[in-house]
Symmetry: C2
Subunit: 135 residues, 2 copies
DNA sequence: CGAATGGTCAACCAAAAGGTTGAATAACCT
DNA sequence: AGGTTATTCAACCTTTTGGTTGACCATTCG
């Protein structure tokens, strides 16, 4: 029982990388600010300052969040001129998605649900971190 | 741009709950020991001591990990006699899965990939936390 | 009953996470 | 060149996380 775990020395490094990657991806996704950022980037690439604008948090903090997302492979950042453009890398989520889906067949994505989800989380994060101006 | 974020006061509590749930799920998944535990439970329900057995870590530590997983809704624990049975709740991952899939259409689950993934991560976690006995 | 087993609790600790501020670097604009 | 804008760095602080140990409760067994 559960004892039948085999070991392959040659796969070691690769396996380790996968585990590390999952660590990075899931812990990146564990923060609501970072999830909100990803949702924003889903609409369009953005420069760091623009990413930061909706949050009531220092630019440095956002910069750190972006670094976390980049380390996880969830976004890339490319400097053009003095702006650094942040771009979503949706493919990176695939590893995590594959892992999760192994635990059950989840229904094939209801996009409406997802939209609601995003909008909801966004308002929550913003309400919690920034006073919402209705001007 | 990105400024069109609407607010619905009535949805507030519910939204907040969703965000909290995603926080809990993703941060629970961010730890390799906890992912390994989930993978073990995929095969069968297990009592706490049996869950702990493969890891070189105190029972108390595993107990805490299980509490984290339970708070995230990823497992349930039921005490029967003096054993506490841990049971996977794969459904809980659906929320997170829906969220993630919104970022891209991932290929419809290659089970072989998943098996490799699990086995790989398992060996890695065990190698890192416990000396592997080949007896 | 008393002893062993299964599991958690409480106190503690080190390291990591998430934030701040102020200074530094880099690129653009007169 | 000098000023402004975009972004990061460094030092610092507080809270959370992941682990330890030892005492404690609950349940079964002899």
């Amino acid at each position: 029982m559960t004892g039948a775990i085999h070991r392959s020395a040659t796969k070691g490094i690769y396996d380790s990388l996968m585990s590390v990657k999952l660590d990075a991806i899931f812990s990146a996704l564990a923060d609501p600010t970072r999830r909100a950022i990803l949702a924003m980037l889903l609409e369009d690439d953005m420069a760091v300052t623009d990413v930061a604008e909706p949050f009531e948090m220092s630019l440095a903090a956002i910069s750190k969040h972006l670094a976390v997302l980049e380390r996880a492979g969830l976004i890339t950042q490319e400097k053009r001129g003095r702006l650094k453009w942040c771009k979503l890398e949706p493919h990176a989520m695939r590893e995590a998605s594959v892992w999760m889906q192994g635990f059950g067949q989840f229904e094939p994505l209801n996009l409406d649900d997802f939209e609601r989800f995003l909008a909801a989380e966004m308002t929550t994060v913003l309400r919690d971190t920034a006073p919402i101006r209705e001007d």
